[in-house]
Symmetry: C2
Subunit: 190 residues, 2 copies
């Protein structure tokens, strides 16, 4: 049994002890060291990864050969390449650990199987997607309507602990500006 | 019965004739003239709107009092303020028609009711959210990695017919640049 994931699901839907057991039997625990790859471009994403412990980043390498961070994932977050999963296409992104990380993999095959046996899980994943979509929409709003500095202050205000765990150049990539700009911002010592 | 929505759902899940009838009985058809508001800030979003005919935009007014377009919606697309729906909070956005528009409203109450009676619909809406999330993630990538001009060319290449239906200043707002910049781009006559 995996208490972290069960606690997370319980916030949204109620499973019976039998359903919890069935779910856990379909999860595969995987452990990665720091800087290891969970997914790489050209490979099919295996499923959705629930992060039990650790920190990961999802990024791609853009046309200027810079790493562009799409998303971070930390404890009790799901991470996956949804495009690869939904459209059965090879991934275009990397998912790499930033710290030593423990994930639970729910393969797409097992997820579909579970949806048939526990329809409430479909509801849970619908809400997860809805939340992810809302967050992505908000992020677009911030990019268009906040200055780089405003975006940095807002993000660090929202996730103060997280900021401490992430190398600065990755934060800069996620927020869409250069590490040099971030250094200047931080030098202001706010 | 509403053939447009049934055809769309059929692409993802198969409903029986009884299920189709039940679904259609829970939809409410609403007709709007050009430039009417379907949703306004401060009001709770009533549900998900399926666009049968017409064109709408979802936007908010930013701190500089500019209209920032979050999303367009046209035939066979769903539009809603997901944040308002999921978190039961008043909306912060406008949904306004650009052309005379006919929508089918699936109220949140009826949606939950349908999920209990037709679990396949939960699957359909999960996939809708997954697609919306993928699109939003891609848009973030474009904003960071394409120049304004590249973004304009890419978007007009993807949706040539749609471009003809949308006022230029709205397109500029969606793509995140000024109408003046767009005029200059178009003057190049590509």
């Amino acid at each position: 049994m995996y208490p972290e994931i069960l606690a997370h699901i319980k916030r949204y839907v109620q499973l019976s002890p039998q359903e919890e057991e069935l779910l856990c039997s379909k999860l595969e625990i995987q452990k990665f060291k720091k800087k290891q790859y969970i997914l790489e471009p050209g490979k099919h994403c295996a499923g959705n990864y629930f992060i039990v412990k650790g920190l990961v980043r999802q990024y791609y390498v853009n046309s200027k050969l810079n790493e562009q961070i799409v998303q971070f994932g930390l404890e009790s977050w799901w991470i996956a390449d949804q495009d690869s999963l939904l459209n059965h296409i090879p991934s275009t992104v990397y998912i790499q650990t930033i710290e030593a990380t423990e994930v639970l993999l729910l393969s797409e095959k097992n997820r579909i199987l579970l949806f048939e046996q526990i329809p409430k899980l479909e509801s849970y994943f619908r809400v997860m997607m809805q939340k992810a979509f809302i967050a992505a929409q908000r992020r677009i709003g911030f990019i268009f309507n906040q200055s780089d500095e405003e975006r940095y202050r807002y993000f660090t205000g929202l996730f103060p602990d997280f900021i401490q765990r992430v190398p600065q150049y990755m934060l800069a990539s996620y927020l869409g500006f250069t590490p040099q700009f971030l250094s200047r911002l931080r030098a202001k010592k706010v």
